[in-house]
């Protein structure tokens, strides 16, 4: 699948802050990311790197303490932040939809799953009740739930984790959205179920030319299913590029270390290298321009200078003053355990 379509979602220099009693958390800073029709983009990084904050902001469902302090969000050319989010309200659920991390928590426990699909249809379509019911059953069938007529009346507790996740996907896809944000859609599911869910998402996005933003901390998963990957660290996008190129020749030292820490493809435990240090406290006033600098093995004086995501090669972009050279060895490095 090649991203030939026109740009659908455009995040431009977005900054999000959380006002808390212990200070202002600068959760996102200068984040730019574009998704084209039919494209699957992976958003990867450690917990706390801002992956979910970005997706929640894109859906306009951020925490009340969060404030968008700079930048813009556009969907098919339309400004999502205009008119106190009125544009967002009209699009959310219909044109853009989201799959949340834990289906058992995200579904209403005391409402049959079929009714929960109907709720979305009632909000966004003018189908009459009987047609809504038929469409809800159809949605369950679309996500390959066996015996959808019977499952329509099931409550979430009567379904397995994998089935609940399928219901979540059915809810998200009920109105045939053009953009799907999947926030760790398979975390906590078995590997066999994960494979089935991911194949379902990629089949559906290919069929409908739907743009998909896949948020995950599983690099193996992102590598398998995404056209492009954006790597986040402490509220910055540090590297973005086509999947193959990014894995073959990561330019940012953080991406390189993230790949080196992943057990996929390693031959022994000693080959894995941990990333030193922790994410910096985002409440600090003296955050360095490069938020990875304090954990970076190759920090130099130049790293204190302002930083931007700059082209490295083709559409591969990196935010680092000392990026790896193109001819950099692709081998995993043998680094002593930290």
């Amino acid at each position: 699948m090649s991203p030939t379509g026109k740009t659908l979602l455009e995040v431009d220099r977005l900054a999000v802050e959380f006002r808390t009693r212990s200070g202002t958390v600068r959760a996102l800073e200068d984040v730019s990311l574009a998704l084209a029709e039919g494209e699957t983009v992976g958003l990867v990084g450690e917990s706390g790197s801002g992956k979910s904050v970005l997706s929640f902001a894109a859906m306009g469902i951020q925490d009340p303490a969060a404030r968008i302090t700079a930048g813009s969000l556009r969907f098919a050319g339309q400004d999502l932040l205009a008119g106190k989010g009125a544009a967002m309200k009209a699009l959310r659920g219909r044109e853009m939809a989201m799959i949340f991390q834990n289906p058992r928590v995200a579904l209403n426990p005391i409402r049959p799953v079929g009714k929960q699909i109907e709720d979305v249809l009632a909000r966004h379509t003018d189908l009459h009740p009987a047609a809504r019911r038929a469409r809800a059953v159809e949605c369950l069938a679309e996500v390959r739930i066996p015996d959808p007529e019977r499952r329509y009346a099931a409550y979430p507790f009567e379904l397995s984790g994998g089935m609940c996740q399928r219901v979540m996907i059915a809810i998200a896809l009920a109105c045939k959205p053009r953009l799907l944000i999947a926030d760790e859609p398979t975390t906590g599911l078995d590997v066999t179920t994960q494979a089935a869910i991911m194949r379902l998402i990629s089949e559906l996005s290919a069929e409908r030319r739907m743009a998909t933003l896949l948020i995950t901390h599983d690099l193996g998963l992102a590598r398998e299913y995404c056209d492009r990957i954006a790597v986040m660290h402490a509220g910055h996008i540090v590297e973005v590029g086509p999947t193959a190129g990014l894995f073959a020749a990561p330019r940012h030292p953080y991406t390189e270390r993230l790949i080196a820490a992943t057990p996929v493809g390693a031959n022994s435990l000693d080959e894995l290298a941990a990333i030193d240090g922790n994410l910096p406290d985002l409440r600090r006033d003296d955050l360095p321009a490069c938020r990875f600098a304090e954990r970076c093995p190759q920090r130099a004086a130049v790293c204190d200078a302002p930083l931007a995501l700059l082209p490295a090669e083709g559409s591969h972009r990196v935010a680092c003053h000392l990026p790896r050279k193109v001819a950099h060895s692709l081998e995993r490095k043998h680094v002593a355990s930290a």
């Binding site: 089935m163 590997v191 590598r223 398998e224 270390r257 493809g265 000693d270 941990a274 930290a338």
Partner: protein
């Protein structure tokens, strides 16, 4: 070679009342395996397959319905679960739990958590106990400065270290680890896995390592047991099982790994068909439990329940039609 732990025909059924009649949920249904001293055995299988019940039977927090749990040739199954806490063998089988946040007492500091184990398992008091706590903290690389912090003041990796520390105060012979890194970020996971590997060698422990993450099992374990609906369907040396899986379920697990396994024989054709597993309540003993999801299921699979049989080279499989195991060449 004498076994540290030997499990023979272990069963645990739970009664389920439905419409006035009691039926049996076969959570663990006739399991045989062993763990040698110093060995790391991985246990994989999907949620609901009985991994946790098996772990509770082995750590003796649950009584078996039938079968034996032999530890150093003593039948631990004869000790009632409620008496196990006071039993001398308690300190030799310890456990590390899945979520370090849920399994630590939020009102105990790291020091208190570890000290409780030192007091109960080593019988130490006062200055001796305090010294042991600091020694164990050293083993797991937990800085002394963090010992007086509460769980909410510790990071995920630090909490995992506390959970490991309290399990190894008595230098147990067998450590049962239930998804010890599932809640951790990949870079922290690496540190904890390397720590566990080092501790195993330094303290001469055996591990039973329960995990969803096949890649981690592949890197950490000497042998692997694959469970499906209460039974072991395949076991053998990790390398051999991963590269040339014999059971269709094992093949499906490995084929489901994102990106597959380099050099492995499992392919997309091995993925499971159909939806959820069949019910573990009163399963038909004369029918393969994977039938319906198995991409290869044939008519005889519905008439004979497969039993675990030897394939040679330390491998076993419970399938009427296992994949032909090609001689696995170690790199």
């Amino acid at each position: 070679m004498s076994h540290l732990l030997e499990v023979i025909g272990l069963k645990r059924w739970f009664g389920v009342k439905k419409g006035g009649e009691t039926r049996q949920l076969h959570a663990v249904d006739g399991i045989d395996f062993h763990i040698a001293p110093g060995e790391t055995v991985g246990l994989v299988g999907e949620s609901g397959c009985g991994k946790s019940t098996l772990v509770r039977l082995l750590t003796r927090t649950l009584d078996p319905s039938d079968g034996q749990v032999r530890f150093r040739n003593h039948d631990l199954g004869l000790i009632r679960a409620r008496e196990m806490a006071l039993h001398a063998q308690r300190k030799d089988i310890q456990m590390v739990f899945q979520d370090p946040t849920d399994s630590l007492n939020p009102r105990y500091t790291a020091r208190q958590t570890i000290a409780e184990s030192v007091r109960l398992l080593c019988g130490l008091r006062g200055a001796e106990a305090a010294a042991r706590v600091e020694e164990v903290a050293d083993w797991v690389g937990l800085p002394q400065a963090l010992l007086d912090r509460y769980p909410h003041q510790l990071s995920g990796g630090q909490k995992a270290r506390v959970g490991i520390a309290r399990a190894i105060v008595s230098r147990p012979a067998l450590l049962v680890l239930d998804e010890p890194t599932a809640a951790l970020d990949v870079s922290v996971q690496t540190v904890i896995l390397q720590l566990l590997d080092r501790l195993k060698r330094e303290l001469d422990m055996s591990f039973l390592f329960v995990s969803h993450d096949l890649n981690v099992v592949r890197l950490l374990c000497d042998r692997v047991l694959v469970m499906y609906l209460g039974q072991v369907v395949e076991s053998g040396p990790t390398d051999a099982v991963f590269h040339a899986p014999a059971h269709p379920y094992t093949r499906a697990l490995i084929a489901s790994l994102p990106g597959g396994l380099a050099g492995g024989q499992a392919t997309a054709a091995d993925l499971l068909v159909g939806g959820d597993p069949q019910s573990p309540i009163d399963p038909d003993p004369n029918r393969c439990r994977l039938l319906g999801r198995c991409p290869r299921g044939l008519a005889p699979c519905g008439e004979t329940g497969p039993v675990l049989r030897d394939l040679g080279e330390g491998r076993q499989v419970a399938c009427l039609y296992p994949a032909v195991v090609q001689h696995h060449v170690r790199q």
